[in-house]
């Protein structure tokens, strides 16, 4: 029965492309909101197969999986292959919270030489490479909505935004792309 069901990507078909930047929806992925005290980091890192970052704005990436530091006891774990991340954590005995949020967020990929400028239309953080280098990630705001911003390359960012705010975020980025 499952294959009969159509998964409806909320940003399906959206695309904004200019000379300097491309704004496109990211592919579906599995996402985990992971919460754990210091004591649980080692075991959870092992279970997830990557070292959970401990520094603000830090990320860890291994292949198609990544963990983004969001707070001192909070990570957003992403897996492009759709792996059941909560399942991986189930065997960890140290107290923690692993909640599947795969459908809560939508990804928007912003790339190109003007990517930083496009994001600056709505994000008040300093995104210069010296301050927000490749690999940095942070929860922040974009215009009137909250996002998680991850710099995946010198000219590439991944924006994670709640599903119902994704139309706003995409529209703002597309508008900003016209001005970059």
């Amino acid at each position: 029965m499952a294959d009969a069901l159509v998964r409806a990507d909320v940003l399906a078909g959206r695309r904004a492309e200019t000379a300097g930047v491309s704004v496109v929806p990211g592919a579906p992925a599995s996402r985990l909101s992971l919460r754990a005290p210091q004591a649980g980091i080692a075991a959870l890192s092992k279970a997830l197969g990557l070292a959970l970052p401990k520094k603000p704005k830090g990320t860890a990436q291994d292949g198609t999986r990544a963990a983004l530091w969001l707070g001192p006891d909070e990570w957003l774990v992403l897996d492009a292959e759709g792996v059941d991340l909560a399942g991986l954590c189930a065997s960890v005995r140290t107290a923690h919270s692993a909640v599947d949020v795969s459908h809560r967020n939508v990804a928007i990929l912003v790339s190109g030489p003007a990517a930083e400028t496009v994001l600056a239309a709505g994000c008040p953080q300093d995104l210069a490479p010296a301050v927000f280098p490749v690999g940095a990630a942070s929860r922040t705001v974009l215009g009137k909505v909250e996002i998680v911003l991850w710099r995946t390359g010198a000219d590439a960012f991944r924006v994670e935004v709640w599903r119902s705010f994704s139309d706003y975020a995409f529209t703002l980025l597309a508008e900003a792309a016209r001005d970059a």
Binding site: M1, A2, D3, A4, L5, V6, R7, A8, D9, V10, P28, S33, R35, P37, D73, A95, H96, S97, A98, V99, D100, V101, S102, H103, R104, N105, T117, A120, A121, G122, C123, P124, Q125, D126, A128, V131, G143, K144, V145, W162, R163, S164, F165, D167, Y168, T171, L172, E175, A176, R178, D179
Partner: protein, 997 residues
Amino acid sequence: MTAAFRIAGAGRLTPAHEARFTFDGRSYAGLAGDTLASALLANGVHLVGRSFKYHRPRGILSAGAEEPNALVEIARDGARRTPNVRATVQELYDGLCAVSQNRWPSLAFDVGAASDVAAPMFSAGFYYKTFMWPKAAWTRLYEPNIRQAAGLGRAPDQPDPDRYASRFAHCAVLVVGAGAAGLAAALAAAQTGQRVILCDEQAEPGGALRFESGVTIDGRPGWRWAQETAAALAAMDNVTVLPRTTAFGYYAQNMVCLAERLTEHLAAPDPEAPRERLWQVRAGRVILATGAIERHMVFADNDRPGIMLAAAARSYLNHFGVAVGRNVGVYAADDSAYAAALDLKRAGLGIAAIVDWRAAPEGAAVEAARAAGIEVLAGHAVTGTAGRLRVSAMTVAPRAGGAARSIAVDALLTSAGWTPAVHLFSQSRGRVGFDAASQRFLPQTYAQACASVGACKGTERLSDAVDEALAAGAAAARETGGRRRKAPRLDAETTETWSGGMLGVGDESAAAPRAKAFVDFQNDVTAKDIRLAVREGMRSIEHVKRFTTNGMATDQGKTSNMHGLAIAAETLDRPIPEVGLTTFRPPYTPVTFGTLVGHGRGRLFDPVRRTATHGWAEAQGAVFEDVGQWKRAWYFPRAGEDMQAAVARECRTVRRAAGIFDASTLGKIEVVGPDAARFMELMYTNPWQKLDPGRCRYGIMLREDGFIYDDGVIGRLAPDRFHVTTTTGGAARVLNHMEDYLQTEFPDLKVWLTSVSEQWAVIAVQGPNSRAIVEPLVDGIDLSDAAMPHMSVREGRVCGVPARLFRVSFTGERGFEINVPADYGLAVWEAVWAEGEKHGACAYGTETMHVLRAEKGFIIVGQDTDGTVTPDDAGLGWAIGKKKTDFVGIRGLARPDLVAAGRKQLVGLRTADPKTVLEEGAQIVETPDQPVPMRMIGHVTSSYWSANCDRSIALALVENGRARSGQTLHVPMPGGSIAVEVTGTVFLDDEGGRADG
């Protein structure tokens, strides 16, 4: 064709680059690079507007942003019509169409000018004193007429079709102003590799170098040096140079807002390009190089067209190649005006005389003027002027007394000295101090990490200004971590001197009974007005300003504030610093709403949140309502149905068969951890420890004061995992409330909170047929009443996707809420719909949801409660764990007021006439025949037509309500009083068996 007042060989514009434009319908020729003002002057047009109050003919005073007079309307098309554009900053483009304002029927003949004749009536405070009586006339007579006469320019009446952009920017050093000082500062800062932003309000850098003819910097003429330096800076990777960009607001911690104008100067702007862009710049250091603004002299009839600032005339000549007159008078109290006279003289124009207010001016400038054969009348004042639409003569008299003489002129240049532009410094909360020697307010105490350099700091010598700017630029870069570099050296030489100046009226003739010596041109404030304000008791400059409106026009008194202050101080016989300087506030110059709004219009005005089934509901013809930022299906009308009919049908269908409802907007929080139940005990009034996994409970959350904050059904998925639902509107604040307690009051609890509101789409299936609808779609969950009773939750699969299935009911019927991952929400909904159609189900919206829950007496937090309602007030006292020793609100509930008798309690109301539907919010009284104001004992909180009860139903908060059961109360309405009977809150299925059955 060369315009009549364009001087061959003068200025920097290219004669071949013609741009045609119209002013008041007449066509003229200008040159590319002109401003509208310079192009008009090139054509000999000085009369460009009428003043605000007296409708006096006005010309062009300045050559920059400080312009108070030359305000025109620029219209590109019907929707692109901008009023109050300063002609002195509007760059000319081919096809520009400008129209004068505040005149009727024409600029030269304006009926409104009658108010000039009646001027004695319109002195300061006139409106305050005159339109006092009768009071009723204000709204009907005075105000409409004053409004008719007031206002400047016509606001556009169509939506703004242009795009606006915004951008956050960060830099080590922001330099405001690209004159000699600003460029030098930027140069020094940029060399260190630090990020530098340099902005200037003009199209080209250079500032005063535009008109100063005698400057050499780094071996090059000043203007050329400025252009080459700005170009070199712009070519550096670490530097952003922003021309046509005004720094209009200086906020906390070096946040400076800039308005960049991108298309105002273009004949055919690219419709894709934004018209303006707002920059919110956060700078490590700010260097203010904002220059100084020349003041006019205050004398009788100093406002005739053709009377302008001396440096403005130099700009028109030296930059635009335009002569502002052929026989020009000069009235000055400082040296810089002499340079203007000399430049004009050298260009072959006649200088009728230099009238110097100072008793014995001396120095190089004065000697040069005399040597050039210009008559210098020292110790003289201009006591009046003649000329109707253009100045034709000035009356000159010795200040010490003596015969006056009239000197014919066709333009009159005035300069009372230079006011440092401390606006942004003042906005930064820096404190200015009055320098008595130079009669200027100068930056004194800095409140933020900024430095003033050059003329805005009061530095007069160019070489000093350049040196201090280089040092400031280097220091700013160093302090923000730039590479150590030796500050560059720049040799700057000039023949210019900016010394001298005066404040206030030139001489007593300016205060003569019929004289109009303007201080503030834009608001038509005269020297007499300010004296009158003082005589009427105003002591502080803030009061004088408000009484006279001096400095309160859109130019914010850039040319007038200091004169106004000096006149007030003199009249009060107190020193200037004691009278005080008015506070400068953003914006420095007017900023369009579009710039401030930026991208935030239309679809981006506010996020619009839609659920997964939005498109389906739209296709079904649903009508939506706004619930916060969410769009929710309100009702689903079928052909021929109005709202009432649709809701009645939906309500009946749910109770007879089934209904399907999108409940996705409910807030959902996953509470996970070994201490989850302990935490829940603290956050909700109910007991949670003994709730078995797989079961649900209706929970009430209080604030610490004991009042209901939120409610919702909570399912326990596992010993250490709860699925909490909140109200739609409460989702964010409930999570914040929980996090607050968890992080700061109970940080030792091992429990974590995650918002899953958007992870799950929620499809509610309610009604007697709900199980039959859901059953075929479910894998691995036994839906029988025995296995899955009312108020239980199971995890399994629905339509093959992971699901959390709740057996809950907000309708009082047997009901399920299917939670599936949001991207599958639409597909599962469609599957449920297909099953539902087999069983007579309908889709229903929020209105039906409201009616059905009211029939059962279920409250809506925020509708039946208002932040002053306790669980007991709402009839929910049963939901408080009696054995609990702590939960948020436990102590609040014991407050004397909350346990006192006579509190308002939630009850049901039945109108005597079942067809009458009460108004929500209507007040309730005991007897309708009491005198007004009646004693109100409660109000209606919810009221609907109930098709299932075939009558109206209502919930109300009524004083001592439960004890009044059976009593008749009254709801007074404009059409008469409505009798109601107090009942219980449940109107249908009192025993509640339907949800279980």
